[in-house]
């Protein structure tokens, strides 16, 4: 997928003024945040389980080479054909080669974020092979020619009316006006494709080393269709999805659906180990898994390593005040929200996504809800430091930081300057006690909001005074 993160500021400004998007985001926030809170409370020891999951992920990553080798050994023993890819082109070319070797004309696809990274659909279609997305959200955005705006609810930026117009145009049928009818129309349109597609492509939420299995977690059943109906199945995944055992998987499943959609479990959890057995009545004759490493090993060797624990639940974005206001497209790549603000620069180069680690208030909502305890604000702070070290910050920001550092190292001077500023601030605030128009570097701050004015005395003044009067 093309990277447009450098446009974050201009795109997010536009998104803030997009009334339809704001309505959709508001709905999505309630739809995710409230149900998650309910089912998390339902676990009496959520914190303990969360810690265990973080530990399992860390252990798995610390021995990732051994677990991947074990996974491969078990998968091959079950008849899976395993491939490895070091670049997006390599993965895409492998998929096309498998398709061509099997005379594939039509592919049905269950949602894959790795596939979004590599731009798989476009590549495959460029080779004259039809690809149908089957997750309803992905189907909607494929019809609209857009990209997902959320990792588990890809069409969350679209309103029901948008979908109604889109379906009426693309399906050439009368316009429908409710979500149920629209969903069932998509079912009706897609069902024949499930039955006659030659190949299915899925992602993999996890790869399980103990058994050489891949797992997908869905609610719609399109994942089961895609892994069962066509004669060839290709699963694409990336190295960090590998976890040790079936019991570790059970642990992850206590957290993933809860954190993602507020469900105790997703409707369909489908674990695939090898192709159709000799006497089986259904299932693909060939099962391929392609394991990708683009950027992952670089992150593994860096101080952003904890980001690889991610199990792609989307809770960090659902709870992020920035995401809640600008939506996923503003982030300009596959993964939006706080995890995207870490992965996008980490995988694509920090100079290519300067604004993302700064598009956060560091409020730590993301860190608190992350089911595998990724310290997202810390990682964003580390990226900011790297930007500074690599001289990628604007000169105004650098000078302000230098000025602040100069003062902070000189307590007496700091005290005098802040006293003056507190008094000037009070004057500027006037009767409303709000500052509406700052000058110079502050102009951007007050363009969209005001600032509570200082009340004339610094914290240190008040504190000293309090000590005197109470004599403590």
């Amino acid at each position: 997928m093309e990277l447009t993160s450098h446009q974050f500021k201009s795109v997010s400004s536009a998104k803030l003024k997009d009334v339809k998007l704001q309505k959709a985001l508001y709905k999505a926030k309630d739809g995710f945040v409230v149900p998650r809170a309910k089912v998390v409370a339902d676990l009496d020891n959520f914190e303990e389980i969360r810690q265990a999951a973080a530990d399992v992920r860390d252990h798995g990553l610390a021995h990732l080479d051994v677990y991947l080798e074990e996974w491969e050994k078990q998968a091959q023993a079950a008849g899976t054909i395993v491939h490895w890819a070091e670049s997006y082109e390599e993965l895409n070319a492998l998929v096309v080669k498998i398709a061509q070797d099997n005379q594939v004309k039509k592919i049905i696809k269950s949602k894959s974020m790795v596939g979004e990274e590599t731009g798989l659909n476009q590549y495959v279609e460029g080779h004259g092979i039809e690809v149908k997305e089957t997750d309803l959200g992905e189907y909607i955005i494929q019809q609209a020619g857009e990209h997902p705006s959320h990792i588990i609810a890809p069409a969350t930026h679209k309103s029901k009316d948008d979908v109604a117009d889109l379906f009426a145009e693309k399906h050439q049928r009368p316009r429908l006006d409710d979500a149920e009818k629209l969903t069932h129309e998509a079912r009706e349109i897609l069902r024949p494709h499930f039955l006659d597609a030659d190949m299915g492509i899925t992602g993999a939420n996890f790869m399980i080393a103990e058994t050489g299995s891949t797992v997908i977690v869905t609610n719609e059943g399109n994942g089961r269709m895609t892994t069962t109906m066509p004669r060839v199945h290709v699963a694409i995944s990336s190295i960090e999805k590998c976890i040790p055992t079936l019991d570790d998987f059970a642990l992850m499943m206590r957290l993933l659906p809860r954190s993602a959609t507020g469900q105790v479990i997703s409707n369909y959890v489908s674990m695939t180990t090898g192709p159709k057995r000799a006497k089986d009545n259904d299932g693909p004759v060939e099962f391929h898994v392609i394991i990708l490493d683009v950027g992952r090993t670089r992150v593994l060797g860096s101080d952003l390593r904890e980001a690889l624990r991610c199990i792609r639940c989307g809770a960090c974005m659902n709870h992020c005040p920035v995401y809640q206001n600008v939506g996923g497209h503003a982030y300009g790549w596959v993964y939006p929200g706080p995890i995207g603000s870490v992965l996008t620069p980490a995988y694509n180069g920090i100079e290519n996504a300067i604004d993302l680690p700064n598009a956060a208030t560091l409020c730590n909502q993301c860190g608190v809800v992350c089911p595998v305890k990724i310290p997202l604000p810390d990682l964003m702070r580390k990226l900011r430091e790297k930007q500074y070290e690599r001289n990628l910050k604007s000169s105004a920001e650098k000078w302000s930081l230098r000025l602040w550092a100069y003062l902070a190292l000189r307590p007496k001077l700091y005290s005098i300057v802040t006293r003056i500023m507190a008094r000037v601030g009070k004057l500027l605030g006037g009767d409303s006690r709000r500052i509406n128009h700052m000058l110079f570097g502050g102009k951007d701050w007050t363009r969209h909001r005001d600032l509570p004015a200082p009340r004339g005395r610094t914290f240190r003044d008040i504190y000293l005074n309090r000590n005197k009067t109470t004599n403590r």
């Binding site: 609810a153 059970a250 674990m271 006497k279």
Partner: protein, 215 residues
């Protein structure tokens, strides 16, 4: 395969693994040999009651029968109550029951696109989440629980286990190696991809009916 070797080498470099030996790290070998169970939530319910509660929450319907012979009658009851077709496909294990007495037409085969009702067994069920566990195989077609609009599943009471960990324990003890697919099914197919509105019957069954069998 240069990609494979390059990726593994990069992982080792990132993890500062000095020398690669044929001996597996003991923490890894132990974990794979006897997988530890991570902390569980409080499981202070009786499995059957919890299973039923969760089935209800995930929009499955429930029935109970004492003996397998009662299945045709129970199905007739369910199908007529919901005005569903009386033509079924089923797993081989059910074909020899007295179906014709109840006027049910049934075939033992995998489902195709036009089948409306599918009847399956269930390897076991997980109480914690109200989940049916189906193993694909020669005698347990995956399509039967997937393509029809209505999926009816029979689960023996004694096969309701507490957690997914317990299900793995059962499978490790009874099954030589994992089948092509292990399917965890919790209620009818659903989506909320349009404006967060919950709709049943996205691609899989619109209805899941669970019949608990005593014997």
């Amino acid at each position: 395969m240069p990609a494979r070797e390059n990726i593994l080498a990069r992982i080792r470099a990132a993890n500062k693994v000095a020398n690669v030996t044929d001996v597996m790290d003991s923490s890894v070998a132990d974990r794979l040999a006897s997988p530890p169970i991570s902390p569980l939530p409080k499981l202070d319910w009786d499995p059957e009651g919890q299973f039923k509660r969760r089935c209800h929450e995930s929009a499955s319907t429930l029935d109970e029968i004492a003996q397998i012979d009662e299945l045709p009658l129970a199905l007739t009851r369910y199908l007529s109550k919901n005005t569903l077709p009386t033509k079924l496909v089923c797993w081989p294990e059910f074909i020899d029951l007295p179906w014709s007495a109840e006027g049910i037409q049934i075939e033992s085969r995998g489902a195709i696109g036009d089948d409306k009702v599918g009847l399956t067994g269930s390897y076991c069920a997980v109480a914690e989440t109200g989940t049916l566990v189906l193993l694909s195989g020669q005698e347990s077609h995956a399509t039967t629980s997937l393509l029809p609009e209505t999926h009816i599943a029979v689960i023996r009471r004694s096969r309701i286990v507490k957690t997914m960990e317990d299900a793995w324990q059962l499978i490790r003890g009874e099954v030589v190696s994992l089948p092509r697919q292990v399917s965890f099914i919790s209620g009818p197919s659903r989506t909320a991809d349009i404006e967060m509105t919950l709709v049943y019957g996205a691609h899989g069954p619109f209805r899941v009916h669970v019949i608990i069998l005593d014997q």
